[in-house]
């Protein structure tokens, strides 16, 4: 299962629309979740609606939270999206077998068995989460909270039975790149003291192009072993 988690505090202002980029991600079987950090209400109505639109196009979920709530939010969203992804796959199976597509349509006794299988899959399926961090100037005071939430997410993922990996990107880069990778796929953060050592904060927010870069990275690193679970869910996971 593949997810992108975008943490941002404002509107994109350069390049491709992030909503189109999120739709691209979805078509590659990657769910896009978005957290808007709204400490001083600088996001505005337009920014908020962009955040929700990105998540909708990317088949994920979106939340607007304060920096101090980031850790709890990030780990819960990740888990929720895993559950949703499995739910969608299971519903497709139900559609094929029973001709109805919802778990709700099953009588409560049958439902119990289906959900038990889903819980098992939630726990054991392999998972890749790419974190994409908006590092524009206004995000600077929030980066400590972002780092904390990444460590916290790793802790939750390590408790899973299935293989879980994260990678971290930030945008924009100091030399006009759309996006820079800070951490390649890893299953632990041992020895990683600072994920963002020194960031050169810049004014532009190329959210769309950055999202596309991360999608490319997923495709390039596809060599990572496919587990049984990925096989079962097929390509159009979300």
């Amino acid at each position: 299962m593949k997810q992108i988690l975008l943490i941002t505090d404002g509107c994109s202002n350069v390049g491709m629309s992030p909503i189109v980029a999120a739709a691209h991600a979805k078509s590659e079987g990657i769910a896009v979740n978005v957290v808007g950090v709204v400490d001083h209400g600088e996001l505005g109505e337009y920014g908020a609606s962009e955040i929700h639109e990105i998540a909708r196009a990317g088949g994920g979920i979106s939340r607007l939270v304060q920096a101090k709530e980031l850790a709890q939010t990030v780990q819960m969203m990740t888990r929720k999206t895993v559950v949703q992804t499995i739910q969608l796959a299971v519903q497709r199976e139900l559609q094929a077998v029973l001709g109805n597509d919802s778990i709700e349509a099953l009588p409560p006794e049958k439902r119990g068995e289906v959900v038990q299988v889903m819980d098992e899959l939630t726990e054991t399926s392999s998972l890749q989460v790419a974190l994409l961090i908006d590092a524009s100037a206004s995000m600077r005071p929030k980066l400590a909270s972002v780092e904390e939430s990444i460590h916290d997410l790793m802790l939750s993922l390590q408790a899973r039975a299935g293989k879980s990996e994260i990678s971290v990107f930030h945008f924009p880069g100091s030399k006009q790149e759309d996006c820079v990778m800070d951490l390649d796929w890893t299953t632990h953060l041992n020895g990683v003291h600072s994920i963002f050592p020194k960031l050169h904060m810049s004014g532009t927010t190329p959210t769309g192009p950055a999202l596309m870069k991360v999608v490319e990275h997923f495709i390039e690193s596809k060599s990572l072993r496919e587990t049984e679970m990925d096989g079962m869910l097929g390509d159009d996971v979300v």
């Binding site: 850790a71 559950v83 739910q87 709700e104 409560p108 802790l155 939750s156 390590q158 408790a159 039975a161």
Partner: protein, 311 residues
Amino acid sequence: MTTSFKLPIKKGSLIVGKWKQGHYRVERLLGEGANGKVFLVSKDWQWYAMKIGQSTVDLQSEINALKALSEYNSSQSSYLKDVDDWITPEGKEIPFYTMRYIKGTNIVSYMQLHGYEWFPLVALHLLRCLEELHRAGWVFGDLKLENIIVGQYGEVELIDFGGATLIGKGVKQFTEIYDRGYWNCGSRSADAQYDLFSFAILCLHLFAPQKLHQLSKGLLPQNRSAVELMELVTETPQLKPYANWLEKAFKGSFSSSKDAAEQWRMLAHQRKPLMKQKHTPRWLKIIIAVSLISLAASASLYVLDYTGLLN
């Protein structure tokens, strides 16, 4: 991140099960958990607590845990009563389950009402609840003040099994301040020690709520630790007798929750471990010796006097 949802429910609303046609009348809202709202309802002159969920899957997952527990343990068997769906007047299908209604209050109001003298016993009952769960192979996960009901004489019931997780799996649902991972004291894998850690936080939450809050907000994430928590324990006079116990809970050094409950019981009864009591204290030995000697002396004087040898 509890998202509230609106339900077309008020006092007197009638909820009819879609599959089993159970008729329930709503009395009032009892509480709200991460997976749904709990109402007090009546059916055939009986009270029940009804949990109405937002997501069928989340609620069913909780029901599965409750079922598995009932199968293991007969005392929990009457906990889960009915599982069904309700079609609201607007035509929305909402899942619910009913459980036995436990009359009681939360720990904080119980203590305020009956006195902190009850604390050691209530805590012991809570530890026994956890022990039972762990024996069945489950961890409660989201242990916190809100998820505990205390009955008239300090009996304890756990409510809201949304965080219940099979031992060895990743804890499903937790609350930051009660979480072992948050305090850098271990993993988020479900084991008995995870619940015991939350239990120890709960003790702090009871006696030093403000300070606990300040501590969690004031420290940098990497500085949260068992040492900081223990410092708070030593600043809290009510927890002094339990300081050693709490330290073990924070460090995860209890071998099992049975062991933890047993050690708590010793403290609650203010008993010293038996082996130490076999020793007769030295001062007592001396006093006994002195009294024996003086008895012998006075007795011999008496005998001598009686036989007339002293004259």
